[in-house]
Amino acid sequence: MIRLMKAEALKLVTIRSTYALLLMTAIGTAGIGVAVALAPHNHGIQRLLFPPRGTPAWYDLVFSALALAEDFALVLGVIIMTGEFRHKTATPTFLAEPRRGRVVAAKLIVSLGAGVVVMAAAAFAALVLGLCFVAAGYGGVGEMAGRLGQALPGYLVATVLFGTYGIGLGAILKNQVLALVVGLGLTAVVEPIIVAAWPTVGRWFPSEAARSLETGSSLSRSGFGGGLSHLLPSWEGALVLIAYALALSIVGSMTTLRTDIT
C-alpha cells in the first residue's frame, strides 16, 4: 500500500498540470480576495452587509476567497482518478496492481496530501494579499494574520475532503469531462438552488457540508451573510464529506472500475 501511495504521489509530481493547477489556485484566490476587498460597500444596503476595510470582520470576508481551494482540490481529485482512463494509463496501473480497490484507496490517501498542498498555495496567496492590504494601511499585521490563522483550519479540512470527494466522483463516473461537469455543476449551480429552496435538505450536500467547516472556524454562525443557521455542526459536515468520498469510491470500485479495460 505504501508503494502504491508513493507511486500515486510520483504521478502528481511528474506532470506539469499539477503545478499549473497550484498556480491557478494561488492566482484565483488572490483575485477573488481582491475582488471581495474592493467591492463597493460604502453606500446603500451594502454598508450594512460589508464591514469597514481593515477590520477583522473585513479580513474574514477577504479570506473567504480560500474557499476556491476546495474547487481546485475537487478538480485535482477528479483528475487523479479519471486521468488514468483519459490517458489510458489504467492498463499499466492495473497491470502493476490488479486489485483495483487498492489503487483507489492509494489515490484517496494521496489526494489528502494533494489537498494540503492546494490549500498551501491558496494560503500563501491569501497571506501575500493580506500583507499588501496591511501595507496599504488596512488594519494591523497581527489582526490580519490572526484572522487568516483562524480561517485556515476549517478551509484546510474542507479542501482536503473535497479532494477525496473528487476521487469518489472520478471513481464512479470514470469520464473526466463528465466528472468535472457534475462535480463543479453540483457545487456551483445545483446545490445553491437546493440550499435556497430547502436549506435543511441542502445542508447535507457536499458544498454545504464544506461550508459548515469554513464557517465553523472563521465566521460566527449568526454573523455575516445570515442564513447560516441551517448548516450542520462542523464535525458533522466533515463526516458527511468523508461519507461522500468513501461511498462514491467504494461504489465506484465495485461498479464502474470493475468493468473491462479495453
Binding site: R3, L4, K6, A7, L10, K11, T14, I15, R16, S17, G83, H87, K88, T89, A90, T91, P92, T93, F94, L95, A96, E97, P98, R99, R258, D260, I261, T262
Partner: protein, 307 residues
C-alpha cells in the same frame, strides 16, 4: 520456482451480441516462443487482456502460472505485458513513467535505467512521451514489460511501429529470452516475421481455436506443393486425382500437386509408369497455413489477392 505457464480453459467473452472469444482452450509452455495468430477481430487482444485480468471473462478461466493474474503475488515480476492501446501521460517523461511502475511494484529504480538502455531509449528518457514516435512508444512499452524481469512475456503486436532494426532486435531478444527458459507468447500480423521468430503457434479464428502446435509439424502436416514436368501431363493429373491428390495442369507440360509430399507423388508416378522430366517441392509457408486455417474468416483481401 515452478516453470512458467499460460493456460486458457473454455474461455468465452461476449461484448453484448458479439462473441469475441468462444470456448477457447490452449496452453503455452515455457522455453519457446509461441505465436498467437489470427485475422483482425479474431479475439487475440481480448484473450490477452483476459489473461492479464483487465477484462473479465464471460465464462472460463485464463491462468498464468496456474492462477489468475490478480491472484499472482507480484504480477509485474511474474508477467511482462505489452498491450495495444496501453497509454502514457503525454506530459510525463519515459523515465518518470517507468519509475512510477517500478515504485508501485517495488522494483529497484536502477532497473528503470537498465530497461531504458535495453530498448535503446536512454538518450530520450527525459523527454516527454507526448513527443515520442510510435516506435519509441512501443519500445517504452517493451521496457515496461521487462521492468520486473518476469518469466512470462505476453506481447500484443510488439513489433507495431518498430523499424527493421527494431524488429530484428526484438526477434533476437525474444529468441534469447525463450532459450533462457522464459515463456514468450506473442500476437502478430507479420507472418513472415513470426515464421522466423516462433516455435509454436496458436491460430485463432472467430474467437475459436483453429490450430495449435509446433510450427514445423503443422507445416509438415499441411504438406508441400509439388511441381512436375511430364511427357504425359494429362495422364499424370488423372493418376494423382485417382489417389486423392489434388492436381491440375499448368502450362504445356506442367502439373501442380498440392498439399502432399514428394514421397506420395513419387510412388504414384512409379506405379503408373509415367515419365517425369522434372520435379520440385516447395513447403507450405506460415502464410499459406494461416490462410488455410482461417479461410472463411473476415478476410476479403485474401480473395482479392488470389484472383
Amino acid at each position: 520456482m515452478p516453470t512458467a505457464s499460460v493456460e486458457v480453459r473454455h474461455l468465452t467473452k461476449r461484448f453484448g451480441s458479439v462473441t469475441a472469444v468462444d470456448d477457447l482452450s490452449f496452453t503455452v509452455e515455457a522455453g519457446r516462443v509461441t505465436g498467437f495468430l489470427g485475422p483482425n477481430g479474431a479475439g487475440k487482444t481480448t484473450t490477452l487482456r483476459m489473461l492479464l485480468g483487465l477484462i473479465t471473462p464471460t465464462s472460463g478461466q485464463a491462468l498464468v502460472n496456474g492462477v489468475s493474474y490478480p491472484s499472482l503475488i507480484e504480477p509485474v515480476r511474474a508477467v511482462g505485458a505489452v498491450l495495444e492501446s496501453s497509454g502514457f501521460h503525454p506530459g510525463r517523461s519515459a523515465r518518470s513513467h517507468l519509475r512510477i511502475i517500478a515504485t508501485a511494484t517495488g522494483v529497484e529504480t536502477s532497473r528503470v535505467d537498465e530497461v531504458l538502455d535495453l530498448v535503446g531509449l536512454t538518450k530520450d528518457a527525459q523527454r516527454r512521451v507526448g513527443g515520442y514516435s510510435m516506435g519509441m512508444r512501443q519500445r517504452l512499452e517493451l521496457a515496461r514489460a521487462l521492468l520486473g524481469e518476469p518469466a512470462v512475456l505476453v506481447l500484443d503486436e510488439p513489433a507495431n511501429g518498430l523499424d527493421p532494426q527494431g524488429i530484428a532486435w526484438l526477434r533476437s531478444l525474444l529468441r534469447y529470452l525463450a532459450s533462457a527458459g522464459m515463456l514468450v507468447f506473442i500476437s502478430s500480423h507479420l507472418l513472415a516475421e513470426a515464421a522466423q521468430t516462433v516455435d509454436e503457434v496458436v491460430i485463432l479464428n472467430h474467437g475459436r481455436l483453429a490450430a495449435q502446435g509446433r510450427l514445423s509439424e503443422l507445416l509438415a502436416e499441411a504438406g508441400a506443393t509439388i511441381r512436375l514436368r511430364s511427357t504425359e501431363p494429362e495422364r499424370l493429373v488423372a493418376s494423382l486425382s485417382a489417389r486423392g491428390i489434388g492436381a491440375r495442369r499448368e502450362g504445356a507440360d506442367q502439373v501442380v500437386a498440392e498439399s502432399t509430399t514428394p514421397e506420395r507423388v513419387g510412388a504414384v508416378v512409379a506405379e503408373d509408369r509415367i515419365v517425369i522430366l522434372e520435379m520440385t517441392s516447395s513447403g507450405e509457408s506460415l502464410e499459406d497455413l494461416f490462410f488455410s486455417m482461417t479461410a472463411g474468416g473476415a478476410l476479403p483481401a485474401r480473395e482479392l489477392a488470389q484472383t
